[in-house]
Symmetry: C2
Subunit: 330 residues, 2 copies
Amino acid sequence: MAHGAGGKATRRLVDGLFVPLLYSAVPDSLGDAARVDIDGTSVAITTDSFVVTPLSFPGGSIGELAVNGTVNDLAVSGATAVALVVSFILEAGLPTDVLETEVRAMANAARAAGVHIVAGDTKVVEHGKADRMYIATTGIGRRIPGLDLGPSRVRPGDRIIVSGPIGDHGMTILLARGELDLEADLRSDTRPVLGMVTALADAAGPALRWMRDPTRGGVATTLNELAIDCGLALHVSEAAIPVRDAVRGACELLGLDPLHIANEGQFLAIVAPEKADAALAAIQATAGGEAACIIGDVRTEPAAAVLVTTGYGGGRIVDMLVGDPLPRIC
Amino acid sequence: MAHGAGGKATRRLVDGLFVPLLYSAVPDSLGDAARVDIDGTSVAITTDSFVVTPLSFPGGSIGELAVNGTVNDLAVSGATAVALVVSFILEAGLPTDVLETEVRAMANAARAAGVHIVAGDTKVVEHGKADRMYIATTGIGRRIPGLDLGPSRVRPGDRIIVSGPIGDHGMTILLARGELDLEADLRSDTRPVLGMVTALADAAGPALRWMRDPTRGGVATTLNELAIDCGLALHVSEAAIPVRDAVRGACELLGLDPLHIANEGQFLAIVAPEKADAALAAIQATAGGEAACIIGDVRTEPAAAVLVTTGYGGGRIVDMLVGDPLPRIC
């Protein structure tokens, strides 16, 4: 299961098997979306499959995730989603109303994100397979003009921004499974981040260096991937990281770190210092971005690592997610 | 299971649920690929998931199908595949060598089809949930210039061309499952059809009216969909349809009609009569197209139906596939 958790085992699988065999022609395929030139037009494309269990949970459902996750992967790669295609793998015996509910959720999420679903495919597998339904979604989009994003553009002194409180999605799913004797007033943060990303891009322009959405593996895994890719140190202040009390409490009870918990409606951005305040203000002025904040900065040491500084002046290296404490989160 | 078989139940699901809720903005979304305008460039896009069992079979495997099926959906929509993205849903415990074999099969098929795989996603589900692996593939491509395809362009008098013998893929899968006490020297026809399609397009130009690959549901279902969409009669001569002896024999034993058996490496084309011979010659002159033939023509009666004429001058209406005699064929 760890190979699908988005952490170290996933990265080994991708680096060891998929990159050399499948993606050899694509130098930057580890980002959330690839760029393809078609008749001189740069088209962004991304794909994701969704196997979340349970299918619906406070704040969202698999259909909504399948749309927002794909719209967001395009957004953080610097592209506006134009069209989605969707593949359903359905379990025989799935009640029609469950399917219809998820199809409606997809339609509503697509409308909210301003994107069209233009084609699809359906396969049915035997009862007992596929946990009622899996959905694979692919999105294509156009570049947001004026951006040049990538780990190689990150510089010491740059600021690290997060769009809002972390860990809501993963912890909501964990509690929704009902396997723990734990209740909390929590909702998934699933939502499109394109509006916030567009406001940020307008305010920061080329001072915006890099973006990603910290889904599987959480903020710690996403920042570790960036640290490895750019070779720099990402210093994050523990006190500055927004975490809701319910998420923090559940994490403490379960021995989990909020930095490893999945998010669906947040993104991380690296912005040059001279534009950091304007960039933050632009996100905060956008609906849903009110809780955005600067959580740290980029330095040179310790190289290729993420260092969390505590309130007492101490620090701890936070690694990628290892293993999978929370399978089937998206 | 019938809802995933590509026949009548699938069409009801698509027409009744997906079209009104999801694809309402897309009038021609029932073709094998949709068209999306990005900054003035027309991008063709198609998606498919693959759940074939067994994973490998004489002549191919799921990885190869996942590439060729997508390349072919673009080809018959009049587009050249430029890039693919791929989503894996893997069962926990899947041996690494099985995954590597399929990843290599995808890489080889992509190379043979001249297309790049540019991005991917991997999810892992519990043991018992995904029959080792499911693959969802999406392809984007550029239009082949000079073509104008669609059911509305089909006219009485047009000829119906098939690219080669039918039923090889479905019958190969059925026999590969080993559930029948039946052996035959059969291989799946999985292959890219783009070379043949390009030769046909060059030879026929705008006289090429319509193309499709008769996968799930077979030639009968694909022709019935066309007949319904254009409102005309498709007359097919039974004697002219190429079927290998092994496929014909197995169909007779099992009470199946070769016209309902799935194909993976064939396509159907409708060509105006004045270009039909040149079009056929162009396919036959292309590697793999030697066995192409004209199997019938378009008339006005019986409206919106497929009529198979027998050697004795009789005829029978052949309907879409009803139910699913062969689940999990691709």
